[in-house]
Symmetry: C2
Subunit: 279 residues, 2 copies
């Protein structure tokens, strides 16, 4: 999928919501635990309930790996299920990989060929040759960590070079945006930092930004949209726990649908305001 | 295992070699491909041949993940085999994870509890709260990327702050060395940068350093040892491709043993020179 295709899906659904399948076995409703693959059953129900309101699903690999090879099978079943039933969904592996070239090539194979994701999140610390192997896949994306939503973002991402007059996160986004294009590269920018989102939008006016941190982490959908949107939307806003774990009863899927729909409706209003001009 | 235990193993084997099981299915000898689990058979043979000459094995998760859940099963079988047959080996998951707290907690569970590794490599970009969940496990280690061996290391790791008078990699090592201790934290420093190794040794005189890049990537064992060693050795030098893929014939294991032994003999000489004083 290219940026144009993603924007088409966003317009047709009136949504730039990404639902995060951080499907923590410890938190899924008790009645599902009697099934053979509780996490898959949970995912299937969440997908069934939320797919009208989102354009992307983000699978956080940690929650699957913690269950060993069984968890990795659940990951495979979930991506296969999504591919078969919702072929237009943009599928993100939130894996935060990043390694030297020959290893990066294997990770690209893992997430793009073996698992069929559209995109994978990447930590930029190891530089260009850790990212290039992913850019060789047509219609696939890297989503590079820029400025993250967590407290620890302050430790290194704000490391400042007087010579460049840049924070590290600005340096990363400036450099890495030149390695690929706005059709295969996005950046992660935390919703907890809407002011910086505006600065980042100046560096990469045309790139999509993946924005986690709305919901459980406290970011505001309205603020993020105001500061981050561009003419082709340019935003995927992720919510995980605030949707999928909003309700631990047997009605969890309906509650998740309601939460997703509520976000979609806010997003629809923002998109209506877009028209053909910059908001 | 604590630092004292690791040093004891190093002295008793006369080796600070870590063998990297970057067991790429595309490169393993043809005759093994007829077996049910070629990568596991390859690993078992390599371990059987090289274990007298090394104190650690490093499993690069990318090469297993590329094979899907089957690869993850091979990873589980390999760690279980090592734990059972070589309980004193220091087992490193070269996974380069790094994510917000609740996710980091799941990765710690994955590598320490589910898979039984002693250590996991971590990318530092997301800061302290992405690393702390790993430090909560007694006798387990984080190995944080400091200065890596690849060309792309130059892109961000040398980002320089005039205010701190530090490169980013120095900032990372300075800060992160204060989060844990020399008994649960190591740093990755590429063998291709022996001069910087000396600078880093000044920042963390007592920490172990994991040094990749000897062998296929061109680093020198002798230079690295000279610049990086401390009174308790403080080095794990990793070689992957130069040992495990030195020979693609049916004699691959004997050749791997010979390559590992050759490194061990060089290391023995260095260790003999250590005595009780700083080299």
């Amino acid at each position: 999928m290219d940026a144009e295709g993603l924007y088409r899906n966003i317009r047709s659904k009136g949504s730039y919501l990404c639902v995060g399948l951080d499907s923590d076995m410890d938190k899924i409703p008790g009645h599902l635990k009697k099934t053979d693959d509780p996490v898959f059953e949970f995912n299937r129900a969440i997908i069934g309930a939320t797919h009208p309101y989102c354009v992307a699903y983000k699978i956080n690999t940690a929650f699957y790996e913690a269950l060993g090879s069984k968890g990795w099978q659940t990951l495979e079943k979930t991506t296969a299920y999504l591919r078969e039933n919702h072929p237009n969904m943009f599928l993100i592996a939130d894996a935060k990989r990043g390694d030297i070239g020959n290893t990066a090539r294997k990770y690209a194979q893992t997430f793009f060929s073996t698992l069929g994701f559209d995109a994978v999140t990447i930590a930029p610390y190891m530089g260009r040759d850790s990212i290039e192997p992913f850019l060789e896949y047509p219609d696939k994306w890297v989503i590079i960590l820029g400025l993250t939503s967590n407290k620890g973002a302050a430790d290194f991402q704000y490391f400042h070079s007087g010579q460049d007059n840049l924070y590290l996160y600005e340096k990363v986004i400036t450099e890495a945006s030149g390695w690929g294009s706005a059709d295969n590269t996005m950046f992660v920018v935390g919703a907890t930092r809407p002011e910086e989102l505006k600065r980042i939008r100046k560096i990469v006016p045309h790139h999509f930004l993946l924005v986690p941190g709305v919901g459980a982490q406290g970011g505001s959908l309205e603020k993020v949209s105001r500061q981050g949107i561009n003419q082709q939307c340019g935003l995927l806003i992720n919510a995980s726990r605030s949707i999928i774990f909003a309700d631990s009863s047997e009605h969890f899927a309906e509650t998740a649908a309601a939460k997703a729909q509520q976000m979609q409706q806010e997003m629809q209003k923002v998109l209506n305001g877009l028209g053909g001009t910059t908001v």
